[in-house]
């Protein structure tokens, strides 16, 4: 009798066949892995760790005297607020709000004291999600050190804040009650008054200090004043006919009212009761004014961001063209601050001196952290969309480009700000092209015709593989993708949808590969929408690559989230 082991060993043919077949499959997979670009995961990790997602806020708050600024930047686990001193050229971490349970209002820079000696921030005392417990933290304007902490139980999402003097401030609750906080003789900060009754109606806005003992605000067409001593609110200005756009308190106690009517805008200089002998106040001047004061505007001309800076004088506005991307900007005195990047670099914080017309980088991007990734400079192009309207676009060419080779392309129409996606695509051998939008909302409704126009322009390019065209959308941009496919079915192999506002069902003849990145804590697009779509897509034969990140809302709020999304995006590109 032959033992089973001997019989097993005797079937050499079977053993050989089995070994060969398994090795063939494993070898095939290894061959695929070997053909992948070197360090693709490291490249995606590096670029994803740059942060500055195209739609995260990243506000900047320069001090009134231009000696320092506060800025927001993504940290590994949330959004951090940092202090930067111009003289010391150093950044200092102040506080962070974690991504899990993130609320935009819970940690916020409330404002600088007029003399730049202090800056106030709302900081969650209870760092975790759940019932808010806020405090107002005061930082020294020179070094960013904490000089005071004030429990702010009444602080909420709709709270307004104003400095009354360098030694006092006021903030409101969501019920329009008012708390006044003052520095005590011993140097400590404490609440001195709390007005329990609402001082204003629910539609109040623009709370400002009128004096150390009173505040003013706007309600519709009227301006109201609240005096702390009398604890009473008084209407000091009302115009039944003309619209009050905004107002400012001048140093001399007068109010500068920016109004508009059918003829346009004008500015009224108004001496309120108390300042004026007339108990109703006095209009000191009324000037038709198309130049309402110092301001900077950002526009996009021919694919280039252009700042137009008006300084409230009769001089010609200053124009500053920035060959790169811009996220956010603030004008303070003769300095323009903005977050953004040169076309060939990573996002940082920049300062433009209006008088000298020079620009310098205050806080650089993490260029030194890039070991494997190459930052690709996009080329600017002009074409017409499907309605013959001229549009500008940017095109990222694959690195190691070879003229005789065809490359897949990703096409979109989006806000022209830093994103890791075009860079990852170019590093992984894809073209990436987007029609430029100067702001998020600008021309978003033109998505279908702009993308069709860009597609028609680019397919004439001999190096583009027209069988591997992908659409790229972020959030609401996904709403109209189906329109393009209805007009031109079959032009697109797949779609890359980041937190898509809609997940239209396409047939797999139209496209077969879809990448979706979403957050499990997204209040706008519930995860159920994605999982339902996953089932529907599978039924029609679409290979859907879905990543749902726990603790993540609609917008990413940490480097970890950005990096994971970047890595999965790179994986998707390699698979296709």
């Amino acid at each position: 009798m032959i033992s089973p082991l001997k019989q097993m060993a005797s079937n050499r043919t079977g053993l050989c066949l089995a070994a060969v077949s398994v090795l063939f499959v494993v070898g095939w997979r290894l061959y695929i892995i070997a053909g992948e670009p070197a360090h693709w995961l490291a490249i995606a990790s590096e670029l994803g760790s740059v942060g500055h997602s195209e739609y995260s806020p990243h506000n900047i708050f320069p001090s009134p005297d231009n000696t320092c600024l506060l800025y927001e930047r993504e940290t590994e686990t949330g959004i951090g607020t940092f202090f930067y001193g111009v003289a010391s050229d150093r950044s200092k971490f102040l506080f962070e709000q974690k991504e899990v349970g993130y609320s935009e209002w819970r940690s916020r820079v409330l404002g600088w004291a007029r003399d730049s000696s202090l800056v106030a921030c709302a900081v969650p005392a209870n760092l975790g999600p759940g019932m808010p417990s806020e405090e107002i933290v005061l930082y020294n304007g020179a070094y960013g050190d904490v000089v005071g902490r004030v429990p702010a139980g009444e602080y909420a999402g709709y709270s307004q804040f104003t400095w009354l003097s360098p030694q006092s401030f006021a903030y409101s609750s969501h019920r329009q009650t008012l708390a006044v906080v003052k520095q005590q003789p011993d140097g400590q900060w404490a609440q001195s008054h709390f007005y329990e009754q609402p001082i204003a109606g629910p539609k109040w806005q623009g709370l400002k200090a009128y004096s150390p003992e009173s505040v003013v605000w706007q309600e519709g067409r009227a301006i109201w004043k609240f005096e702390f001593d009398s604890a009473s609110s008084t209407k000091i200005w009302d115009s039944p006919t003309n619209k009050l756009e905004s107002f400012a308190c001048a140093d001399d106690g007068n109010l500068r009212l920016h109004c508009s009517d059918k003829k346009g805008q004008y500015t009224i200089l108004f001496a309120p009761p108390g300042k004026s002998a007339d108990p109703k106040g006095t209009i000191l001047s009324n000037v038709r004014d198309h130049n309402p004061g110092r301001r900077a505007r950002l526009s996009m001309d021919g694919g280039l961001y252009t700042f137009t800076i008006e300084r409230g004088t009769n001089s010609e506005p200053t124009r500053f063209v920035w060959e790169g991307m811009v996220e956010n900007y603030k004008l303070v005195g003769d300095e323009l601050y903005f977050t953004g990047n040169r076309a060939s670099g990573l996002p940082g914080i920049w300062q433009y001196d209006i008088n000298l017309k020079t620009v310098r980088c205050l806080v650089p991007g993490p260029e030194e952290d890039l070991k494997y990734a190459t930052v690709v400079t996009p080329s600017l192009g002009i074409c017409t969309n499907a309605r013959e309207k001229e549009i500008s676009y940017h095109l990222w060419q694959p690195i190691n480009f070879s003229p005789g080779k065809k490359y897949p392309i990703i096409i979109g129409q989006t806000h022209y700000t830093w994103s890791s996606f075009p860079q990852i695509a170019a590093n992984d051998g894809y073209y990436f092209a987007t029609v430029d939008r100067a702001t998020w909302a600008n021309d978003i409704n033109n998505w279908p015709e702009d993308v069709l126009g860009l597609y028609e322009t680019l397919v004439k390019h001999t190096n583009i593989d027209t069988n591997r065209v992908f659409f790229y959308t972020f959030s609401a941009e996904a709403l109209d993708t189906a329109q393009v496919l209805n007009v031109k079915p079959g032009i697109c192999k797949g779609a890359i949808l980041i937190v898509p506002g809609a997940v239209p069902i396409w047939s797999s003849e139209q496209l077969s590969k879809v990448f979706i990145a979403g957050g499990l804590d997204d209040d706008l697009i519930r995860p159920k929408v994605y999982t339902n779509y996953l089932s529907e897509a599978a039924k029609v034969g679409i290979t859907l690559r879905l990543i749902l990140q726990p603790g993540v809302q609609h917008l990413p709020n940490s480097l970890a989230t950005e990096r994971q999304r970047a890595q999965q995006f790179a994986r998707f590109l390699l698979e296709n």
Binding site: N11, V22, V26, I542, T543
Partner: protein
């Protein structure tokens, strides 16, 4: 001669099943990180389906190569091939022909093979196993096997 053919069939079936099981496991591992769809027939997550199918294929493949009882091999191959084809027909009946791409896309993606091709490779394999096992049963060695089991 017939015995050799039967042995060749068992060996080839074993090799194919082991290769298929390896491919399914590799596809499953390559798909880690993505949210998977739920199988529309069994209502369970596709990676679980893959692990189950891969494990069964591997077990049957090993029996085909190393097993000593032909009756067991016939039975397992026939059962597996019938079950797979029935599953495919059920999937087709429920969600259509292209459903394979949506549910089994991981395997195709892992090997950079078009889903259509992957589908036809797997279908061809299981049809081969089905026909092979049926023919083997009907051939004289099968009669011998029936006698053996009675005796």
């Amino acid at each position: 001669m017939q015995s050799k053919a039967i042995h060749w069939f068992f060996n080839s079936a074993g090799a194919l099943l082991l290769a298929s099981a390896t491919a399914i496991v590799v596809g499953n591992v390559a798909g880690v990180g993505w949210v998977p769809p739920h199988d529309s027939l069994l209502m369970i997550s596709m990676p679980i389906v893959f692990w189950i199918v891969g494990a069964i294929e591997m077990a049957v493949g090993l029996v085909c190569i190393f097993g000593t009882k032909d009756c067991l091999k016939f039975g397992l191959i026939l059962w597996l091939a019938t079950a797979f084809l029935a599953y495919q027909i059920g999937l087709f009946w429920t969600v259509g022909l292209r459903s394979f791409d949506g549910y089994w896309g991981n395997v195709a993606v892992a090997f950079h093979v078009p889903p259509d091709t992957t589908r036809w490779i797997l279908m061809a394999m299981f049809i081969y196993l089905l026909i092979g096992s049926v023919i083997s049963l009907l051939w004289p060695p099968a009669s011998k096997f029936q006698k053996d089991t009675k005796g």
